[in-house]
């Protein structure tokens, strides 16, 4: 399949050569520059930063929900914390079309979302906390525990069993101490990610103080490099190269959802290959991944407040391609939905899973075509 894709790339390169050597664009260079400036600005502010802001806000709410555990843990309190986990995770999954830049450079993707969890070592940590050998704290987690012992899946393990929130009585004091620590670390990591894109000074006061307390400092706002693509100070030497990065990010997650997140467990028929073992949240995760592509393409995380979009640029160059991409996004969402909940119990739904995988591949292919317009 990839070979076909590669040949397609070459063919399109050939077509592009004949096209671009013979034709002038209808819009002027400066009009296009302005359009791209708006696209890159709105992508940064309305899609990326808006998503990370929501994720960080919800991660703080998760830590608040856990404070209620302090004087005994009720079932309702666990449900509230589990819901806060799901809300935080929703925005994380909606960010997976932009895992380039800070999420990658600062290892935040693995720190937030390494899977599988090292349950063996995690249980050992709990034993050591129980025996008093380890004094559990957020600082201990940060300094001593690797990516497979923290992040979303560590919190998930402590809050969920078999797709449901655990009972309050089931959660031990030791588990609570670990839960509290990893949830705080999760919040710090979410805020860190927001900070790397927006700049620390632009965080709200609460977030600034959480980072300051943890002695976490971030550098120059990466979002500014996307917005100022083509200017000195940005590693993107043209605006097109920044758009290409955005498209690559969207393609990568389309590919990963279809060919790894869905295809791998379907092929192995092993439920342990399905991410989110304890909450059974997988299909929701996958759909939110596709929505991350949708938000990146349509210019905003809030469907009622979208900005200038890559879609507008594509429509101006090739209206049929724009329609194709929108259709493929909708198809991918509906085909994933049609697999049926929970994903782990439907690995043998051959037609449902293969249609979902194919829909992701179609989406990947149509997004790839945008690159041919970036010359």
């Amino acid at each position: 399949m990839k070979k076909c894709i590669n040949n397609l790339v070459l063919l399109s390169l050939l077509l592009f050569v004949s096209y671009s050597c013979d034709n002038d664009n209808d819009i002027t260079g400066s009009e296009q520059d302005n359009l791209l400036t708006e696209i890159l600005t709105d992508y940064t502010d309305k899609t990326v930063i808006a998503t990370y802001t929501s994720m960080a806000d919800n991660s703080i709410l998760l830590t608040t929900a856990l404070e209620a555990f302090e004087d005994g843990i009720t079932d309702d309190e666990v449900v509230a914390a589990a819901d806060a986990w799901k809300d935080t995770r929703e925005h994380w999954e909606k960010s997976e079309a932009f895992l380039f830049g800070p999420a990658a450079f600062n290892n935040l993707d693995p720190l937030l979302d390494t899977w599988p969890l090292d349950k063996n070592q995690l249980d050992q940590v709990l034993t050591d906390v129980e025996s008093g050998e380890i004094e559990m704290s957020a600082g201990y987690v940060r300094d001593n525990l690797g990516a497979s012992l923290r992040g979303f899946h560590a919190v998930e393990y402590l809050l969920f069993r078999d797709g449901q929130a655990r009972t309050g009585a089931d959660i031990t004091a030791t588990e609570y101490s670990y839960l509290k620590a990893v949830a705080l670390i999760l919040a710090q990591d979410c805020i860190t990610l927001e900070s790397w894109w927006v700049g620390t000074d632009n965080l709200n006061a609460n977030k600034q103080s959480i980072l300051a307390e943890a002695e976490i400092e971030t550098g120059d706002a990466f979002g500014d490099e996307i917005k100022s693509a083509g200017l000195a100070g940005s590693r993107y030497n043209t605006q097109f190269s920044a758009v290409e990065e955005i498209i690559q990010g969207a393609m990568d997650i389309a590919d990963e959802v279809g060919n790894a997140k869905i295809a791998d467990p379907v092929e192995s028929k092993n439920v342990l290959d399905v991410e989110s073992w304890y909450s059974w949240n997988s299909l929701t995760d996958f759909k939110n991944n596709i929505r991350s592509i949708e938000n990146a393409y349509l210019g905003g995380a809030d469907e009622n407040n979208r900005g200038t979009s890559i879609s507008a640029f594509v429509a101006g160059e090739d209206a049929a391609l724009d329609t194709e991409i929108k259709t493929n996004i909708a198809t991918a969402l509906s085909k994933i939905d049609a697999i049926g909940e929970p994903f782990r119990n439907n690995l043998d739904n051959e037609s449902g899973t293969s249609e979902a995988i194919a829909a992701c591949t179609e989406l990947f292919n149509s997004l790839q075509k945008i690159k041919n317009l970036l010359q």
Partner: protein
């Protein structure tokens, strides 16, 4: 055969057309054809036109089994865990890192760090060795600094110190400009020294600790496809040359998979001859201690196991063959991925400053060791990689880099330069050299001593604009 020929003719036409558009000021001249060829750093079948942060992660056009490629990629990116019965299980009992990607950020080269315990991006490997480079008995070649409880690693870590270096010219060019002019690090060059932290093993007098960094992975399948005879030809060319540049080839290594001798060409010291028994193939086992059918024993020394026993830890089960923690099929997929990583195309070669830099690259004899191009031989693993003209800018030989670069050794294989200009995008840093002492291209050139000192002097004596042009060329290939 015929089909593949037709395909190649078609592709070549694309190349020519591409060139005609890239350089539309002089369409179709022979020079443009040469330039077009140089854009294809990994040859027609091993190059991708991708300048994003994912430029080092792409499958080459030659890869047909994308599922195998992606499955193999998962083992590179995944974090190994100590549970042996789950996906990515089998970490430890003693290990170096939990994942491959943590040492190869963005699939590129490792990042310079002050603190060896930094996980992500830190691709330092530490060696505990004697002055002659031999590893101190009781240590694995690559020092292990982690263990799964209750085991205790040979050492808890490595303390890295960064030292200032001032050359005989006071870190200034002949025109008076300081090195790294205008930057926060103006006038400085630095190099690392290292010491063990909480070592439980016996250490002999005179031992040393040195660190070396990982090298990028992309394009290694194409280097694997270069015939040994071609490397020997280059070796003989250098021996016959006047001057001090006399590269040494790697040892002849008899590989167990085919019983034949192959020439060492991978790693900083040409200690591995083929990818089939190469740094990646072995690191997948040794870095996280993931045992498998062809590597059934733990990557640990008997002395380390004895030391655990002395500490009162149960060592039953550590001796002898272990359960396979990685399947043969997954290993095959890992190698499809490893061999199949494409090289990003060169960029901006038609730019006048880049062309000026290219002229200087040759004039300054950089190209004597950073051999620009090779034509690959027959490659059975990926037939499409056979007979490709590639542009890695390495002679695959080792050169004496002077006392200034003494680590475990002072000779190093010339590293490829392809794709270096994209490192900041892909991995967020521009650190280079065997121990990442060079923080940018300028420093990398200034650390060329020994056989390369004439080229260093050539660079130092250039005008500022020409120094910049030479660096621009290095960043464009």
């Amino acid at each position: 055969m015929k089909l593949s020929c037709i395909k190649n003719i078609f592709l070549f036409t694309v190349v020519l057309l591409f060139a005609s558009c890239v350089k539309d000021d002089s369409i179709g001249t022979p020079e443009d054809e040469v330039l077009a060829e140089e854009y294809y750093s990994g040859g027609i079948n091993g190059t991708v036109f991708n300048e994003t942060s994912k430029c080092f992660e792409q499958p080459s056009p030659a890869i047909s089994d994308l599922n195998a490629f992606l499955n193999g990629e998962a083992f590179f990116e995944g974090t190994f865990v100590s549970d042996s019965d789950v996906p990515f299980g089998g970490l430890g009992p003693v290990y170096i890192k939990t994942s491959c990607i943590s040492c190869h950020p963005g699939y590129g080269r490792a990042q310079r760090v002050d603190d060896f315990s930094v996980d992500h991006g830190n691709g330092y490997i530490a060696f505990v060795h004697m002055p002659d480079g031999s590893i101190v008995p009781g240590f694995t070649v690559m020092l292990q600094t982690h263990a799964v409880a209750p085991f205790v690693p040979p050492a808890e870590g490595v303390d890295i110190t960064w030292n200032q270096f001032v050359d005989e010219y006071g870190n200034k060019y002949p025109d008076g400009t300081p090195y790294n002019a205008g930057k926060a690090i103006e006038g400085t060059l630095i190099y690392p020294t290292a010491e063990l932290i909480n070592c439980i093993m016996d250490l002999p007098a005179g031992y040393k600790v040195s660190i070396e960094a990982t090298i990028g992975i992309y394009g290694t399948g194409l280097l694997d496809a270069i015939a040994d005879e071609s490397i020997i030809d280059e070796y003989e060319r250098q021996q016959a040359m006047d001057g001090v540049i006399k590269g040494q080839h790697g040892p002849w290594i008899t590989e167990s998979f085919d019983g034949k001798q192959h020439l060492g060409k991978f790693t900083w010291h040409c200690s591995r001859a083929t990818l089939q028994n190469g740094p990646g193939y072995n690191a997948l086992y040794s870095i996280s201690n993931i045992t498998r059918e062809d590597r059934p024993n733990l990557y640990a020394t008997t002395q380390w196991i004895e030391k655990q026993h002395e500490l009162g830890i149960d060592t039953t089960g550590l001796h002898g063959p272990q359960k396979a923690e990685l399947s043969y099929d997954d290993l095959l997929d890992f190698m499809v991925w490893h061999r199949g990583l494409a090289v990003p195309a060169a960029r901006n070669l038609g730019d006048p400053d880049v062309q000026q830099g290219k002229n200087l690259f040759y004039e300054g004899k950089c190209a004597e060791c950073h051999k620009p191009s090779w034509t690959t031989g027959d490659y059975e693993y990926i037939p499409e990689y056979s007979n490709q003209k590639i542009w890695p800018y390495t002679d695959l030989l080792m050169h004496d880099m002077g006392d200034e670069n003494q680590g475990r050794f002072r000779t190093y294989r010339t590293p490829p330069l392809w794709g270096r200009g994209l490192m900041n995008k892909a991995a967020n840093h521009t650190d280079m050299f065997h121990d990442l002492r060079a923080r940018n291209f300028e420093e990398a050139i200034l650390w060329h001593f020994g056989e390369a000192e004439d080229s260093r002097e050539f660079f130092r004596n250039l005008a500022k604009e020409d120094r910049e042009a030479l660096i621009l060329f290095c960043a464009s290939i």
